[in-house]
Amino acid sequence: MNATLLIATNTLRQTIRQRLYLNIGVFGVGMILLSMVVGQITFGYPDRVVRSLGLSGCTLAVDLLALLTAVSLIYEEIDKKTLFVVLTRPVDRWQYVAGRYLGLLLAVALALVGFAVVFLITLRLAGGTLTSSDLVALLAILPEAAILGGFGLVLSAFSTPTLSTGIGLGFWMAAATTDDLVGLTANADLPLKLVAKAAYYVLPSFARLDFRDAAVYQASVAPAEVGYSLAYGMLYAVGLVALASVILTRREMV
């Protein structure tokens, strides 16, 4: 098996054996189940409540999992010197980074599948039926998590997990609001406007990856739009992985 795949499968195994994985799993399932309880006690449309709260819970859990796992992916390995031994084997640094990331992505996708199953059961119990817009909303969580994971990976190549988590959360909030930035600063001073404009182009836009409203109101989504969003998210993530590789390649293992 090729080095990248060996590293990926090992990372997958490592991630799902971590306590964090279980904790976030419990958290996500709890959020989805909570949506059913709330759906029962509010007046009318329990399936809407399940979709709105349940999908948001799924997104939050998967995004958190991606970011919190990613921030220690490389850092921890340098700290424990495992990476030193790995890099003296026939493994290129970019292969190592790609393998770590791929493993993370597999673990995150696995969690998403699990959440999706719980979500669908909950939706059934609330009297809703599965539609294509539900699936789109679930699928669109993946590129968002892929970007957050990629960003965490970049940080983990040079900073501590705690600091990286802080920066990562900031990035997350910014990415969730990029589309509003330009509007909000429309009447601001020029420098602020430029900063907002720059952020708008550099940061990813999670609003473009959010199909939850369409699911809640059962509106149909054009396949091209979904495809575009997925491609956008994955491309952005690939860029981040490339950046992490460049950082690690230049970095000394001290």
Partner: protein, 316 residues
């Protein structure tokens, strides 16, 4: 290409400075280190704490970039990945994925070196038995003791059957039995034709295992060569031990001699010339003393080490 004359490890005039903190304060980890390791030998890389052993080893493995100097492994430049599958490395104080069992870990490293799954599993089992972990190999590493992790680290370094092993303090933190086991393992690697470079500051281990040593201090080489030559070169002297004299006579005899001391009712004296030693001994025996010992005095590696450090300091 590698010829038969090519050393397995070559370091020439290696230097490396780290810059620490925001003020970029320089830390001279290596100033001028040179060494060569020939095929099939066990090379002891000696130096006190902070001498630059780990820094040199990391540069050899491409983990840090040298500022200056020429480094190669198996005749390949460090930047050339050609040596990778053939060199095994164990860092100091190794820690590994603690969610894996010892067997899973070593299998994984063998596979990273290009061994297929079935052979890798077999090899891992054999290696773990060899380092004395046959009982524990199916337990998670989380529950391993320090000594067990050290042994696991060695098994990991050996995975993929490399021809050169670079071990950073393989015996540190082990009990006497563990150290003996590792020494014997290193000797058996040599018997298989493998080359071993290991760093340490435990001199007795070096005396028992190494063919050649390189002593460094404060980032610079102070002594390299065959162990027997280094031990042989140093001025051999003669040691005389006499007992059975009264305290006064002992003190008087000791005062006459430069390298003599009184210990537990005996006088111990060192001479460079055999004749002078004999004169001294016969003089004391004539005065009623008992000659306990009269023998050539061989220098120990420890003595050489201590003196190298005192005299061989790098001068700017």
């Amino acid at each position: 290409m590698m010829t038969s004359q090519e050393p397995m490890v070559r370091v020439r005039a290696f230097s490396k400075t780290f810059y620490v903190g925001l003020r970029r304060k320089p830390s001279y980890a290596a100033r001028d280190i040179s060494l060569e390791v020939q095929p099939g030998e066990i090379f002891g890389f000696l130096g006190p704490n902070g001498a630059g052993k780990t820094t040199t080893i990391k540069a050899l493995l491409g983990l840090i970039r040298p500022d200056q100097g020429e480094l190669s492994l198996l005749g390949h430049a460090i930047s050339d990945p050609a040596w990778r599958a053939r060199v095994g490395y164990m860092p100091e104080h190794p820690t590994f994925y603690d969610y894996l069992t010892g067997h899973e870990l070593v299998t994984w490293f063998a596979r990273l070196s290009g061994v297929n799954r079935i052979d890798a599993e077999k090899e891992a089992r054999a290696l773990l038995e060899r380092v004395g972990l046959s009982q524990a190999m199916n337990r998670r590493l989380r529950g391993y003791s320090k000594g067990m992790l050290q042994r696991t680290g060695l098994a990991t370094a050996l995975a993929g059957s490399p021809s050169l092993l670079i071990l950073d303090e393989p015996m540190t933190g082990l009990d006497p039995i563990g150290r003996r086991d590792i020494r014997e393992l290193i000797m058996s690697l040599k018997a298989e034709g493998k080359t071993v470079l290991y760093s340490t500051h435990i001199l007795s281990d070096v005396e028992m295992t190494c063919d050649r040593v390189g002593i460094i201090n404060k980032g610079a080489s102070v002594r390299t060569g065959r162990l027997d030559e280094i031990l042989g070169q140093t001025a051999r002297g003669y040691q005389v031990v006499v007992s059975g004299l009264g305290p006064e006579a002992l003190a008087r005899a000791a005062a006459e001699q430069a390298e003599a001391e009184v210990r537990e009712g005996k006088i111990e004296a060192l001479f460079t010339e055999r004749a002078a030693a004999w004169d001294f001994a016969s003089h004391l025996v004539a005065a009623g003393g008992v000659l306990e010992r009269f023998e050539p005095h061989r220098d120990t590696l420890e003595g050489i080490f201590m003196r190298s450090l005192a005299t061989g300091e790098y001068k700017e």
